[in-house]
């Protein structure tokens, strides 16, 4: 039995001056070492969930626990050490005057010794491919570069859980790939748990598990294969379906019989090859 590192039990939350709940009766577990993707339309409650996990907001009802600690105003400082968060917009989280100062900021706050700090700053900047920018000022960096620095800032603290709140949505394809690859490597090396809040379905397709949020509630949870077989239902929820499924559907409409519903691009290519060799 895998161990739940984060559990939510009947969590509800409502912002001030809003008539409806941002999250309603949300219950699920996140297991140690897994990559969980949370997807959903804008306003479905995904980001609210991230804020609750990091204690930026507290639920009106229900319980959240992180690494066995019940999350409340007393425990929040311990929990934040375990849970690093990268937000969507790097401009809102850049505090240092240079790249290395920014990464060092969190370490200073946690009283990391100077020698260790220097190592960790460089090491984590190397991991996001920003080590050649140590003394650059943030306003000279492009959005994607800043975001990689923000990710380095989190990595430097070596949390056991990392939450990416649409953290790659501003990166170019290569940058996005590098960052996700970095996080993936860290996840494998250090059994880091990754919670990725994302609109990028290609990224979600590579997660271990996906939770679909809709209007503040958990709509569905399952493996990528389960979720993407929802097909048009996903589109109705304001989401999209991965390319390989769209492509398969187009082939089916044109009378090409495909053996199963969810195919990766490689599988689809193989299937078409088989189809051709049968003619």
């Amino acid at each position: 039995m895998r161990e739940a590192v984060v559990s939510l039990r009947n969590v509800s939350f409502q912002y001030e001056n809003q008539s409806s709940y941002a999250l309603q009766n949300v219950t699920f577990d996140i297991f140690e070492g897994e990559w969980l993707a949370i997807v959903g339309h804008n306003g479905s409650g995904k980001s609210t969930m991230a804020k609750l996990l990091n204690g930026l907001q507290f639920p009106q009802s229900g319980e959240i626990s992180v690494c066995g600690i019940q999350l409340n105003e007393e425990s929040i400082w311990d929990i934040r050490k375990k849970l690093g968060m990268v937000f969507q917009n790097p401009d809102n989280q850049f505090v240092g005057t240079t790249v290395q100062d920014d990464v060092a900021f969190g370490l200073e706050n946690h009283g990391v010794p100077r020698n260790d700090m220097i190592f960790r700053v460089e090491d984590s900047l190397k991991k996001v491919n920003m080590d050649q920018f140590l003394n650059q000022e943030p306003h000279h960096l492009s959005g994607g570069q800043k975001q990689r620095v923000a990710i380095a800032g989190v990595l430097a603290l070596r949390p056991s859980i990392i939450i990416l709140d649409e953290a790659t949505s501003m990166l170019d394809p290569k940058g996005r790939g590098e960052v996700l690859e970095t996080v993936r490597t860290l996840k494998n090396e250090k059994s880091l748990t990754v919670i990725s809040i994302t609109h990028d379905l290609e990224e979600a397709a590579k997660a271990d598990r996906i939770i679909v949020m809709n209007q503040g509630e958990v709509y569905r949870e399952g493996t990528p294969e389960d979720i993407f077989s929802m097909d048009d239902e996903l589109v109705r929820l304001g989401l999209d379906i991965p390319f390989s499924i769209k492509m398969s559907n187009a082939f089916r409409q044109k009378g090409i019989d495909l053996s199963k519903h969810y195919l990766s691009e490689e599988e689809l290519v193989n299937e078409l090859w088989t189809f051709r060799s049968k003619i």
Partner: protein, 288 residues
């Protein structure tokens, strides 16, 4: 409105120890009615080019021609106001620029700043809201009580209410969900066609570049390295990959399939519909 960048160069903090060359020898022509996608790596100079399009940055070399006005390096440039009225920029995360008490006040701020009467500005605000798919009821609301997606639309409405001849869009849909993204991109495209605008889209999304643009310009390390129609650009996959850029999924899939089947399709297809039709025909009609 025709826009032309002629051999422009831009240095940040020129003549200081912090001087940094951002773009060099960039020439781009954007005739009226062109939808141009500007793509390139993070840090390739796209955003610097973009800020020249309405004279937020003035070139340190070369000249920028916007409509009937020319902005030359190293000379005093007057009347930049006219340019800024004609060229509307939707910046990344434009909702961060919202500041007024109500949605209506926020939208009419731009037009009124350029001398449009309050009544007309309000009229334009109503129209712009409709264009971005929001209901009139929110005019009296505070923009800060809206959802992220709605705030984005209000901010875009503020640019549309200026009735620009040229729209410059810097990753306008970043952070929106897929449905919102498609709605906004389709809205810009229909506006582009209806008003015969010049549209410049800065994007990382090769899908959007393939779908909407007539012309694609690729930038790398401050230079323009390639320019052409989407079909031209996306036909040379290897070159793009070497530059660290992506290709549309459909093109990548076509290459994978071609390799597996050991053949070459007639041309590069940019939509799922076209590609699946071509492949289906091939599969059905293929002699063994």
């Amino acid at each position: 409105m025709d826009i032309s960048l002629q051999n422009i160069e831009y240095r940040y903090q020129a003549n200081t120890p912090f001087e940094r060359l951002a773009i060099k020898d960039v020439s781009i022509n954007i005739p009226t009615g062109t939808y141009m996608a500007l793509i390139g790596h993070t840090g390739s100079g796209k955003s610097t080019v973009l800020q020249h399009l309405n004279a937020l940055l003035l070139p340190t070399e070369g000249s920028v021609i916007i409509g009937s006005q020319e902005i030359k390096a190293k000379q005093k440039n007057k009347n930049l106001r006219m340019i800024r009225q004609k060229v509307g920029i939707v910046f990344q995360f434009p909702e961060h620029q919202l500041f007024e008490e109500t949605v209506e006040k926020d939208i009419i701020f731009g037009p009124m700043n350029f001398g449009v009467s309050e009544n007309e500005a309000k009229e334009r605000a109503r129209l712009a809201l409709k264009q971005v798919g929001l209901a009139e009821e929110i005019l009296e609301k505070s923009p800060f009580d809206l959802s992220g997606g709605q705030m984005r639309r209000v901010a875009i409405a503020g640019v549309l209410a200026m009735e620009p001849d040229c729209l410059v869009l810097d990753e306008p849909t970043a952070g929106l969900d897929p449905r919102g993204r498609k709605e906004i991109m389709d809205m810009f495209y229909s506006l582009h066609k209806k008003r015969n605008l010049s549209t410049i889209l800065v994007t990382h999304s090769m899908e959007d570049a393939a779908r909407y643009a007539d012309q694609i310009v690729i930038m790398q390390q401050g230079h323009v390295v390639k320019q052409g129609t989407p079909v031209e650009i996306f036909s040379s996959v290897t070159e793009l990959v070497e530059m660290g850029l992506d290709v549309p999924e459909v093109v990548r899939f076509q290459r994978m399939l071609e390799e597996k089947l050991g053949l070459k399709l007639e041309r590069t297809y940019l939509s799922i519909e076209e590609l699946s039709a071509a492949v289906a025909e091939l599969l059905r009609g293929a002699p063994v």
